[in-house]
């Protein structure tokens, strides 16, 4: 298009030159003109005109060639023409095809790694659930599929795991317990299977993709070994306890001095031996209690029961102990309106007894202990034991639920198993036990028991 305009533009001065030349010749040919003598004959005039035409055409071609050269440098290239751009384009094409090849390769790699990931996920023997940020199941592996099918909830997360996940999502924190005693029991084909849940958040920075993964680690074998150990401890403890109570009885009879008196040294010796005996018995009883708790926690007999009567029972059980130190036991929220819980009454009474006796031990003289029932969420009933004692030292707080842990500076001879056993029992109940942050100089321990 541009070239057409160029040609037209150049034709103009050529035509102008011709016209002016022709007019000048005609004027010169006029009679009486000053130049009449220069173009005397017609042939001379015609020659002059041809000369003019040739001159105009030649000059216009020269001008055209001059412009055309300068314009072509700035012009977009035309197909098939050899210029600098075409060279560049060719080079770019080469790079482009290289990029295209690379793209193909990376797509292939992506597909391959996707396949590998999928294969790994499928080969993982533990059930794995992958969930989106909204908690919806995106992907499950065959182990998870068969687990959920066995539980009659095809493709879904088991309810107790779902609750844990909901808490993780709420707190934006992972749940990665180490202790096999935190495992959850599932009944599959009349067999108890223990799964330690591992719940964690994942994030892919490339695709801005994130979600949650739940891996259920089967710890049944570890639990079985642990139970074996526990049973062994229980057997040994029983074997120790029987002769120990015999020795204790003999020492107590000697100390009674009913038929003959002991001399002072004998009495000191027997008294000391009797004290040792009591201490040993306390230890054996604690170890036994632990083994019973550990073996018992896995075999709960849960029935629908009311926490109202439990609170009342525990209240009257400890009334006299508390009264001895002037401590008032008060029950709150016991209006009978709360739903029943699913719990083992024996084990739950143990936990409650432990919390209340702790509260009494740490209460000041003439203090007050509150047993309060409440409903913290839709699935639990909470029983709080609140005392006015000095509270748990901050350093000890994370450790109080550990086995054999005793806060420094405690005077009692107790072995520090109470809260550990309680935690074990509550875990087996799929409930919770905890210590709330200290508020208004009150220490509040609580248990959350699942609603029936």
């Amino acid at each position: 298009m541009l070239r057409l305009w160029l040609i037209c533009g150049l034709m103009m001065p050529v035509l102008l030159l011709w016209t002016m030349g022709a007019a000048a010749i005609l004027v010169m040919r006029d009679s009486g003109s000053r130049f009449e003598h220069l173009l005397k004959s017609d042939s001379q005039a015609i020659l002059a005109m041809i000369g003019l035409i040739l001159l105009g055409t030649a000059s216009s071609i020269l001008v055209y060639l001059f412009f055309a050269r300068h314009l072509s440098a700035a012009q977009p290239p035309l197909p098939g023409e050899e210029n600098e751009f075409v060279g560049n384009a060719a080079a770019n094409d080469e790079k482009g095809s290289e990029v295209a090849t690379q793209h193909d390769q990376s797509a292939q790699n992506l597909v391959r790694s996707n396949h590998v990931n999928r294969a790994i996920l499928e080969a993982v023997p533990s059930p794995v659930f992958v969930l989106g940020e909204d908690g919806g199941v995106i992907q499950v592996n065959p182990a998870a599929e068969s687990l959920s099918e066995n539980l009659g909830i095809a493709g879904q997360l088991p309810l107790k795991i779902q609750r844990l996940l909901d808490e993780c999502r709420k707190d934006q924190s992972n749940y990665l317990p180490q202790d096999p005693r935190d495992a959850m029991v599932f009944r599959i084909n009349d067999e108890e299977v223990f799964f330690l849940p591992r719940i964690f958040h994942f994030e892919s920075k490339v695709d801005l993709l994130s979600g949650w993964a739940v891996l259920l680690h089967n710890v049944s074998r570890i639990r079985w070994l642990d139970d074996m150990k526990t049973n062994h401890i229980a057997t040994v403890s029983h074997e120790i306890k029987t002769p120990l109570t015999c020795i204790r009885m003999a020492l107590l009879l000697l100390l009674e001095e009913r038929t003959s008196t002991l001399d002072p040294i004998q009495r000191t010796l027997v008294t000391s031996a009797s004290g040792d005996c009591e201490r040993l018995l306390t230890t054996v009883n604690s170890v036994l209690a632990l083994s019973i708790a550990e073996s018992g926690a896995t075999h709960l007999n849960r029935v629908p029961m009311s926490l109202h009567s439990s609170v009342e029972g525990i209240g009257s059980q400890f009334e006299s102990t508390a009264a001895k130190r002037g401590i008032e036991l008060r029950i709150e929220g016991n209006d009978g309106s709360l739903p029943k819980v699913l719990a083992d009454p024996v084990r739950l009474a143990e936990v409650l007894g432990n919390l209340v006796s702790n509260a009494i031990n740490h209460s000041p003289q003439d203090g007050k202990i509150i047993l309060r029932l409440s409903k913290p969420d839709g699935v639990h009933i909470r029983l709080s034991v609140v005392d006015q004692g000095a509270g748990v030292p901050e350093l000890s707080q994370p450790r109080i639920f550990e086995r054999f842990y005793r806060a420094p500076g405690q005077k009692t001879q107790r072995l520090g198993l109470g809260l550990f056993i309680s935690r074990d029992i509550m875990t087996a109940h799929e409930g919770r036990i905890g210590l709330l942050e200290r508020n208004e100089n009150l220490t509040e321990f609580f248990i959350d028991v699942p609603i029936a």
């Binding site: 029983h238 306890k241 029987t242 009885m249 009454p345």
Partner: protein, 208 residues
Amino acid sequence: MSRSLENSNASDSAVRNVLVVQNEATLRMGFAYALSNPTTMVETAASGGEALLMMEVNDYDIMILELMMPGMDGINVIETLRTMENRIPVILYTASQHPNASLRAISLGVVDFLTNPTSPADVRRVVDYVIYPPPSPLSQALHAVRTGNMELAIKILANHPSPELKDRVWLRTLKLIPGAGFKGDTGWLEEVVSSDFPSLAFNALPIP
């Protein structure tokens, strides 16, 4: 010392006869030593079978029986005695909590549980408590169960003007015992007795 035991199998002498059935030698001797005094004659047996043989020959006012014994255990001994229509008061000595056995024992009229560890003083106290029941409603109710009158026991406890935890637990338990009007599934009953057991045991009774 006056005798208040009505259904005694023993002779009318002022001396009470106690049979200690215990497989652990030290405890057997210990119990005998703790109880022996001028008015209490104690004899011992090392097994359930031996105890039953001695029962055929002698009359005893009361028996302290170990629950867990090799061969014939405490419950077997009580069952055998009851089939022989012998209602001798039995104090069951148990090393640890056995709710099922306790439940069975209560249904056989055994309501006195002495739990391990115990002291010589406790052993003497429980024997006195059974032979000379104090006038408290609980004690009278338990005495009624020992003599086989479960209905009377429930009536006494139900009419208790100011029942304490132990009275309530006993009333609940007695009402639940099969034969006392309770029918149906007893599986969960064991749970109840198990959680209540500390309140049922003699060691849990207040020191008079």
